[in-house]
Amino acid sequence: MALLSMRDIDKSFFGKMANEHVNLEVGYNEIHALLGENGAGKTTLMNILYGIYTRDSGTIEMEGKPITFSSPKDAIKSHIGMVHQHFTLVPTLTVSENITLGLKSPGHPFPNRKVLDEQIASLSCRYGLDVDPKAIVGQLSVGEQQRVEIIKLLYRDAKLLILDEPTAVLTPQETESFFTVLRRLREDGHSVIIITHHIPEVLSITDSITVLQNGRNAGTVQTKETNAEELSRLMIGRKLQGSKREMISKQNRGNGLVLSGVFLSKAKLGPLSLQVPPGSILGIAGVDGNGQKELAEIIVGIRMHQGGTVSLCGECLDHLSVEQRKRKGIGYISDDRHKDGLILDMDLQDNMLLKLFGEEGIVTHGFVNRLLLRKRTEQAVAEHAIKTSSLECPLRYLSGGNQQKLILAREMAGNPSLVVACQPTRGLDIGSSETVHNMLLRLRKEGCSILLVSSDLDEIVLLSDEIAVMHGGKIMDCLPNDRIDLTKIGLLMAGKGMDA
């Protein structure tokens, strides 16, 4: 008998089927992967299991008993726990308060924090999930927040853990220790459902795999009996082409982006210097929260630096506003597309306008040329195969992959001389990631300087001409791509000495 079995699950949103006759079985002591493209319906299925969505039809059984959850509360009672794609922690509360949130501890409603903190500490010690119970969650790094999420589940005695894209934000080292935790959990009698887009991870950690495509089952396989090709074929129905970085002969096309001695003490950044020549990609590797975002924002003009200079093609940018920099041909792809990159309640055209306003003919005498804007949007949609029901569709209803493609299409418009791309494929499936990679490479070919910030080392290695490692707001080292050593980079990312 399986621990969990979901059968014939149907779920539609506004008449569109997100899950159609989906089946899923998870055994005891099993790590089970749920794979699929963006929008395949993985999160929907898990949200149904966790009581966030109600299914249209189908049955769910836990340990042979049929169950129906009307809220996460019921799921928690049945020992199911879920870590969401977007973390569900309260940033203003402490780690301990987040973990015990809503629980009746002895002395309720007056929790004895000291005792609770000790319990949490022992739990985190047991599974190697290192966190300080007294820390404020908002001040933790993503990796730490994830550990908090997992302790939160364990503290609630979850037997079945659902982890929705848990590794998307982790460094290779963090991922590795995270997997150790998962194995330890399995040994301890837990089962885990993990959603991820990284096929190598799936192959290394899981026992069995269910693949969804377009809301339907595309296959269930034992990990031992499958390989990467089969999985990607099941997921996207075709083989991946792979992106290739062509060699570009170094013509002298000016300096590109040059930073010298830039620092911002408030954000513990710098001083740092770097250069991105035209037609090349500088990859910045590093654990999230080591100053990459601040650096990117300084270059784009969202933040002001205290000292040093930023220049593009020999022109000093220091005192230019974001708008002026945009007009000089700077594109920006933020790591948080919902907050920074898009206006979700506006349609495709309006979102394109966020960048195109700088282009000639789009805004004349203060009036927006809607015809031209429409034409440009149509072009972008066609060129990059952005899937949408119409140009008037609010961005909220596009899938993540298509949202990201729109941002890229927008920021690529008008031959930019510099694109700053932060985590451009975070949360995207392998197909979309490939598209994004190809788009970046095309920009490079067209002579654009590209600063690529990513915590995904594979991506960095795949795309970059040069790789810089950031830690603690400083650049630890900067190497050309052909002379890199992955372990060394990993050590640098963790802040371990240059001489190691």
């Binding site: 949200n47 966790y50 966030i52 969505y53 809220s71 996460p72 509360k73 928690i76 009672k77 879920m82 969401h84 973390f87 569900t88 922690l89 309260v90 940033p91 203003t92 509360l93 308060e97 987040n98 015990t100 949130l101 809503g102 629980l103 009746k104 501890s105 309720h108 409603p109 007056f110 929790p111 939160k152 609630r156 909220r396």
Partner: protein
């Protein structure tokens, strides 16, 4: 007359406390509601409803307790209508609050007219008297003004303490905070977001209703159309000035109350400046105090946003 002397006099402090009490009660209620993420700018309506129904209750039954009960229920009725619109119907909370103000202003006047007719004899009740607390009231300076007051003032003191403990010492406080800050997190932790919000709105109704009850049953002993005359809006101010901290709220209420008390006393000293210059004082003081809160915006992240579980 010496202003500083005046400001420290017992009578002045007592007046300040009387002014502050109804505002602080309603402010505390609104604080709880806003902590949970529901902003109700219809505090005025809650207070008015409380004032009317408590008066009605006591006038018809002669019982103080029933008066209090009616007052609280009146407040709860108004507040729950807003809660229903905000939580269940996911309506714009600001406009729901405004609509509530119009609705209850009309409704209380209408019911009052229905019950008592067009009359020049004022229907009234005996007000709840002050209760002197034996030893404490003999404390120098503060004793007389703080401990020779009506029971509502003592209730207020108790509530500040109780709500302080609730907010900062109990799991319920953490839950309330979580629901206002990140309802999805609360939901996935097994907390029923809407239930917490309804409860918070219920508390808002009780406290706002008591604020109105104070006006009709303690301060005045009668009801009249638009009796609250804008106090609900002032209560909203105390929430922001007090940064949703019970002590802060009461502090803000005292500041505004003292500005009210001061403006009246300044006027009686006799000047030829139009009286409006003095009436304006509490509002100007409020704006000035708000200036000191620069850069410390601590609105709950989900304030005013309805929670929809299956919204992406």
């Amino acid at each position: 007359m010496d202003i500083t002397l005046l400001a420290t006099s017992t009578a002045f402090l007592a007046a300040t406390i009387r002014m502050a009490t109804p505002i602080a009660l309603a402010g505390l209620g609104e604080t709880i509601s806003e902590k949970s993420g529901v902003i109700n700018i219809g505090v005025e309506a809650i207070m008015l409803s409380g004032a009317f129904f408590s008066f009605l209750g006591m006038f018809s039954t002669g019982s103080v307790l029933l008066g209090l009960l009616f007052g609280m229920l009146g407040g709860v009725g108004a507040s729950m209508l807003h809660a229903f619109l905000s939580i269940r119907c996911k309506a714009n909370q600001t406009i729901a609050g405004l609509a509530l103000n119009f609705l209850l202003l009309g409704l209380t006047s209408f019911l009052f007219l229905m019950k008592f007719g067009q009359t020049t004899t004022l229907p009234s009740i005996t007000v709840i008297p002050t209760v002197k607390i034996p030893l404490l009231s003999r404390l120098p300076l503060l004793g007389e003004s703080l401990f020779n007051q009506d029971p509502f003032v003592y209730l207020l003191l108790f509530l500040v303490l109780a709500i302080g403990i609730l907010f900062y010492k109990t799991e319920w406080g953490v839950i309330l905070h979580a629901v206002g800050e990140n309802p999805r997190a609360a939901d996935t932790a097994g907390i029923s977001v809407n239930k917490v919000r309804y409860l918070a709105c219920f508390a808002n109704g009780i406290l706002g209703g008591l604020g109105g009850t104070y006006l009709s049953m303690v301060k005045l002993g009668f009801f009249m159309e638009n009796l609250t005359a804008g106090k609900g809006y002032i209560a909203l101010v105390t929430v922001i000035l007090g940064r949703r901290n019970p002590l802060g709220v009461i502090g803000a209420a005292l500041v505004i109350g003292s500005a009210e008390a001061l403006q009246i006393r300044l006027q009686t000293m006799g000047t030829s400046i139009p009286s409006q210059a003095f009436s304006m004082l509490p509002y100007v003081v409020t704006v000035i105090v708000l200036l000191f809160s620069i850069g410390r915006n601590q609105d709950p992240t989900a304030l005013g946003i309805p929670y929809e579980r299956d919204k992406r």
